[in-house]
């Protein structure tokens, strides 16, 4: 196929998936959150169940005035949301939704993801710094400290999987999980890494993901009862929408990564190879939905931590445990 044509198709597919996915997740959060609180949530937008609420919200944000404070550094202020959004979208390039349904199967897939996703720190720091607002600045600093602290457990937890799988390619990791692990009564049993002894990495990975997403219980950067809205305080209109969409898109992105690394990605038991491209996306979406729901569920139940407690959790607990975990995984890998 023509290279450019393929590129455009892939781009449109990824963009479309990210945007609709983000809207769906926003809707899920509104709805699940309100039912957890004994409310109904969106009801009137659209004809039933308020399904069009995220769209309507988006339209509302778009027509709002795009304010920027007098003291703001206009260029950086304007650029920041796009940096955040870009880093999120770029992650999707290497996430496989089927054996062939992947933007580009890089050999260093997981490495690329971890590198690209940490770019969003830059955007957040830009937003915090350029807003000329003390709350924004503090939010930006908190975000920087937090994201950097949790980048490490994230990488280390992923590294344990890489060690076990023996490859950094996302597709390779999925294949490693669909390999036969043992055979019982003539049935070949394949297990995702979660069940192959990676439970500790999974928990660490998920904690780090929630922290990377700055969601409760780690939402100090935007803690609205402390810093009004943190680095988002001054944003409005389309730029705020960008941040907002970016947050939910990266929720999907990280859930997709976790699903690929620990839950077997697009592979499902009993799916013949020929159908993997067809069924794969559905399986993958289900797994993503499950993880996204857990993240939403946590957000509507728990309070937030304090900045120093968060740092202590990362440096004193998660990182040492993750390191020990890598060592154990490596020993098992070599011995067996």
């Amino acid at each position: 196929m023509n290279f450019w044509l393929e590129l455009i198709i892939k781009l449109v597919a990824i963009l479309g998936f990210v945007l609709t996915g983000a809207l769906v997740v926003i809707y899920a959060e509104l709805k699940a959150g309100s039912h957890m609180q004994g409310r109904i949530g969106p009801y009137y937008a659209g004809v039933r169940w308020g399904w069009a609420q995220p769209l309507a919200d988006g339209l509302k944000f778009l027509q709002k005035e795009d304010l920027s404070p007098t003291g703001a550094d206009r260029t950086i202020y304007g650029l920041a949301p796009y940096v955040v959004m870009m880093s999120t979208i770029a992650v999707f390039v290497v996430i496989p939704f089927g054996p062939d349904m992947v933007g580009r199967d890089l050999d260093l897939g997981i490495y690329f993801i971890l590198a690209i996703s940490s770019l969003s720190v830059l955007g957040i720091l830009m937003a915090g710094w350029s807003s000329a607002n003390k709350y924004s600045l503090m939010g930006g600093l908190r975000a920087a400290a937090q994201l950097i602290a949790y980048e490490l457990p994230l990488v280390l937890a992923a590294a344990a999987v890489v060690v076990q799988a023996g490859t950094m390619s996302m597709n390779g990791i999925v294949l490693a999980q669909s390999e036969t692990w043992f055979t019982v009564a003539g049935i070949d049993v394949a297990m995702p890494f979660l069940l192959k002894g990676q439970i500790i990495s999974f928990i660490i990975f998920m904690i780090a993901v929630v922290a990377e997403l700055s969601r409760i219980p780690f939402d100090m950067p935007i803690a609205e009862s402390e810093l009004t809205m943190g680095y988002l305080t001054e944003y409005s209109g389309i730029r705020f929408t960008m941040f907002f969409l970016g947050e939910y898109a990266s929720m999907i992105a990280f859930s997709a990564i976790a699903a690929t690394l620990f839950l077997g990605g697009y592979a499902a038991p009993g799916v013949p190879d020929g159908l993997a491209n067809l069924v794969g996306p559905g399986v993958m979406l289900l797994k993503i939905a499950l993880l996204v729901f857990v993240i939403i569920w946590i957000r509507w139940t728990w309070p937030r931590l304090r900045e120093d407690q968060l740092q202590r959790l990362a440096w004193f607990w998660l990182i040492p445990i993750a390191l020990a975990n890598i060592a154990v995984v490596a020993i098992f890998k070599v011995v067996f």
Partner: protein, 394 residues
Amino acid sequence: MTDLAMIHRSESAVSIELQTPDMTLNIGPQHPSTHGVLRLIAKVAGERVTDVEPVIGYMHRGYEKLSEVRTYAQITTLVNRIDWVAGFASEVPFIIGVEKLMGVEAPPRAQYIRMILTELARMASHLVFMSSYPLELGATTPLMYALREREYILELIEEVTGGRFHPNFNRVGGVKPVYGGGSMTKKWSLDLPEGFLQRARDAMDRMEQICDDIDTLVSDNELIKMRTVGIGVIPRDKALEYGLTGPNLRASGVAYDLRKVENLLPYDEIDFDIAVRQGGDCYDRYVLRIEEVRQSSRIVRQAVDQIPSGPLQTKVPRVLKAPRGQVYSRGENPKGEFGYHIVSEGARMPYRLKIRSTSFSNLSILPWILQDALIPDLVAIMGSLDFVLGDVDR
């Protein structure tokens, strides 16, 4: 923090460039965590607050001055707007003060109705606290649960008084006995409506249930404990020094409750405990209020069972004139001691009314307790003191 004199001479040359002055952060008057319009001028070094100066008065409505040109009946309307989350509870000390001045006493049934409604108001106020405090710590769900249950309480209050927040149900010499003053409306008694006692019992079941739910969701939550245990400790002597009252004082280990001390309402006929906790930190202040809701529901259950029958109001003159004199009457508002100093010159209106509002006095500890707190702790501590800005500014 940045006291230049403290730095060694040789260092100062280098670090004078690096020395950053403390940042002044204006928290409020419009800020999500200040419950209205409180402004804190905080000096922060990074996340640490080095100095904080509360600025109040954004909501000053001049109730003391307004009261000087209003009759006693009209003032009852005003005083339940001071601490609006517990309107009825702030009416009672005022009206009892006026009764003391005039030398009348409410009949027992009226006193019991007052007591039931006061306890309902206390529960409503504490439920607001139970909902808003976790919100400051980032948990959004307890808000909905507690407010959902508060609705049942407000409904009970509305059923009897006609108002959810501002009952205006107290009259000198009892509670409002009849609908109006005309020949027809005078026959319409405002006694408890049918089925009220049973509905009150049912609502108390719900209260106990929501206390358990909030315990599960909040009090037992390890993250909440991490955020509140040992934070904002007010030692016993400091609490007494700053004149804290109410739950804030009792959480510091002082078993002082005006319901037991003053004999405004027939609390002595009811069996209940004063909730006390020893720690004096945010967690204790929080849990203590949940315990108080349980005690209040005990009070309501007993009061509902043993409410006497009888008239709602004693005979009072049509035109109320308090004789010359003054009185200080105080009661246990949900937030602490709520007092009125009424000076009468013998007219239909008080000569002077001084309101000792609870939140204002409780707020005085803020600069001391917020010293060297982290910003997240500042929010946690401020919330745990449970003040209402209308009560602070009056």
